[in-house]
């Protein structure tokens, strides 16, 4: 009896500790993906935008990074 009680307590404790860990890992993944998307967006604007002003400002960087350029 006391054994099953302690087993239940262990299960309950496992749930208590594991749930937030799982949630935190999902949150970590989502936040990582968000940061990566932001990074790709920045590189896209600096290196690939067809807007003249952005092209001219980043001209030497585009050539130096071998991004396709006019």
């Amino acid at each position: 009896m006391s054994q099953s009680q302690s087993a239940q307590a262990q299960v309950a404790q496992a749930e208590v500790t594991h749930l937030p860990v799982a949630a935190r890992q999902v949150g970590r993944l989502a936040q990582s993906l968000m940061a990566m998307t932001l990074g790709l967006f920045i590189v896209g604007v600096v290196g690939f935008s067809h807007i003249d002003v952005i092209h001219n400002a980043a001209h030497d960087v585009r050539h130096s990074n071998a991004f396709p350029c006019h």
């Binding site: 890992q25 949150g27 970590r28 993944l29 936040q31 990582s32 993906l33 968000m34 940061a35 990566m36 932001l38 990074g39 790709l40 967006f41 920045i42 590189v43 600096v46 290196g47 690939f48 067809h50 003249d52 002003v53 092209h55 001219n56 400002a57 980043a58 001209h59 030497d60 960087v61 585009r62 050539h63 130096s64 990074n65 071998a66 991004f67 396709p68 350029c69 006019h70």
Partner: protein
């Protein structure tokens, strides 16, 4: 500190430092070659203006869009270099955000903080994915060298980057024979399809200059990615300490 904030902090700090260093390296490596090529480019334009028919679409088609009538451009000298520094810093921050995202997912899965050495390996992967693979089909080009239409090159460049990163991912993380073979095939695929190119390339930019430029771009990029991988991972390991999570 939240994961997103740790990533952004590390990326901005590492990106700022790497962007500044690479700007300095470019002043000795790529920029002098770009300026030399622009002399040839401008000479070719004057010839065109004097009545000769342009035979191909110039990479720098000034009359159409850039540098030309209407569109703003930074003045040569300090202003141009300041914008180059700014664009380098932004590019470095952008790629650092990408690397840090991987670091965060990796250290979240393994429970170990990322080491500078593993960061360096990720940086070298970035070098392979973003410089070597697209550069095989579309070598770094100087101003004044004609090339296929911009959009088609951008699409091929992106395809090469995606295929190479997916291929390397399969090889490194799947650790099985079929996955490794699929990875190698995937890396080769965009090159078998072939990058868009012009049938006839006529330019007065000397080929020795173009060759020097390919070497300069590749070496500068190696410095960029090695530094970015190492510094970003060190910064992320610092900001993502468990105590501050």
């Amino acid at each position: 500190m939240s994961t997103f904030r740790s990533i952004v902090f590390s990326s901005v700090i590492a990106g700022f430092i790497v962007g500044l260093i690479v700007t300095a390296v470019q002043q000795f490596g790529t920029v002098p070659l770009i300026l030399k090529a622009e002399v040839y480019e401008k000479a070719a334009e004057h010839k065109h203006e004097a009545g000769a028919q342009p035979q191909v679409v110039l990479v720098h088609d000034h009359a159409d869009h850039d540098h030309g009538a209407g569109a703003w451009e930074p003045r040569d000298g300090l202003e141009r270099n300041l914008y180059t520094a700014g664009a380098n810093i932004l590019t470095a921050i952008g790629f650092a955000l990408l690397l840090c995202g991987f670091f965060s997912i990796r250290s979240g899965a393994t429970g170990e903080p990322i080491s500078w050495h593993e960061g360096l390996m990720w940086g070298l992967a970035g070098f392979a994915v973003f410089t070597i693979a697209p550069g095989l089909g579309l070598p770094p080009e100087l101003p004044g060298v004609p090339a296929a239409p911009l959009l088609s090159r951008q699409i091929w460049w992106t395809t090469a980057v995606l295929a190479t990163s997916a291929g390397l991912g399969l090889i490194v993380f799947r650790r099985s024979m079929p996955a490794a073979i699929a990875g190698v095939v995937l890396i080769m695929l965009p090159h078998l399809i072939g990058a868009p190119e012009l049938e006839h390339v006529a330019t007065n930019v000397p080929s020795s200059l173009s060759h020097q430029f390919v070497v300069a771009v590749t070496l500068t990029s190696l410095v960029f990615w090695s530094l970015l991988g190492g510094l970003t991972s060190a910064a992320f390991a610092y900001f993502d300490r468990p105590a501050s999570a």
